[in-house]
Symmetry: C2
Subunit: 200 residues, 2 copies
């Protein structure tokens, strides 16, 4: 049987499929959609992809992505340098910044401890976190890993590791999401909201 | 307030967001994920994107994508040339080919008539379909546009246009999808399955 396949289109779909959350069908759709773009736009897109990898690297302090030597957050002298917020992912930093509730520094560990996936503390930026605390400038570390089993376990691991260094280790509050209705709140969340109730 | 934005990363996310079905959040996730790829792989991906647009174009007969002058389906002399299947999208051709039930030719019209989106018959490959029928070789045209309101309307429009040319115009059968359970079949589908019932 003769092959109907268009080699370059199939290859492009394979590349799309390597991106996270993109399945085979979506990858195919995206590859086809490139054919509908203007040639100039495709070239710019392709160029941008290569540029990003060249321009962007880790901040040498917080391991967030930056195109400078030190990211603008770490370089911002108006921020409180006594508090560090530990997050899993650079995108979590964006989320925090959008809330405008936080004016201190971050540390991105780039993942969570997950023995099943072969990720232990050594694969994360935990050594770098510990050495950042050695100056004694940081008084509090806020754990802001995701509220998942692995995120919880990582926060627990880090709190045990960091507390002996003389820093206060805290965790984001659990509770009912603002704007949610009680009827649709799951039991676990409601249970934690009850246990974490505060006087008003 | 100082900008924390990484220009090249934001730009890459904007390009991803132009792809169909990719929202702002997903685009950001994809842009970040490029940072985690190896530089060589990114270069290959980018190169592939540009190559696809250069290599791939419409088949001059059926308007499916091909990297040759005539696509392998139209060039295949073992196929029955008296039947054309009209589809909206090149990916629909793939779906038909996978079913292995069809051994004739296709015509890709690249969309559906959709006045609300400013797409009329002139924006689709309908002129080309009509001129393909002029040789008299084609005896039957199967409408295989999607079972949506617009797909139906397009099939109806085409059948009115083509019937006077002396070809038989047919439509794919509607009915219960194979492997489905009656309990979860929607009323419209069941109604059509009843009306289209056949003797066994």
């Amino acid at each position: 049987m003769e092959s109907r396949r268009i080699a370059s289109l199939e290859k492009l779909a394979e590349y799309f499929q390597r991106l996270p959350g993109i399945g085979r069908k979506t990858a195919q759709r995206l590859a086809y959609s490139v054919l509908n773009m203007e040639e100039d736009k495709i070239k710019e897109f392709a160029h941008c992809m290569v540029t990003v990898k060249k321009d962007v690297h880790y901040c040498k302090f917080c391991y967030n992505f930056t195109d400078k030597e030190v990211c603008t957050i770490c370089a911002d002298m108006n921020r409180d340098r006594s508090v560090l917020c530990v997050v899993e992912d650079p995108r979590d930093v964006e989320t925090f910044e959008k809330s405008r509730e936080y004016n201190s520094l971050y540390h991105v560990i780039h993942g969570v401890i997950s023995p099943l996936n072969g990720i232990g503390p050594d694969q994360l930026r935990i050594k770098e976190l510990v050495s950042r605390l050695s100056s004694g400038e940081v008084k509090e570390v806020i754990m802001a890993t995701n509220p998942t089993v692995e995120g919880e376990a990582t926060a627990l691991y880090l709190s045990k590791l960091l507390r002996p260094l003389g820093v206060k280790v805290t965790r984001l509050a659990y509770g009912i999401p603002f704007g949610a209705t009680l009827e649709y709140t799951d039991e676990e969340t409601l249970g934690r909201a009850i246990n974490g109730r505060v006087e008003i």
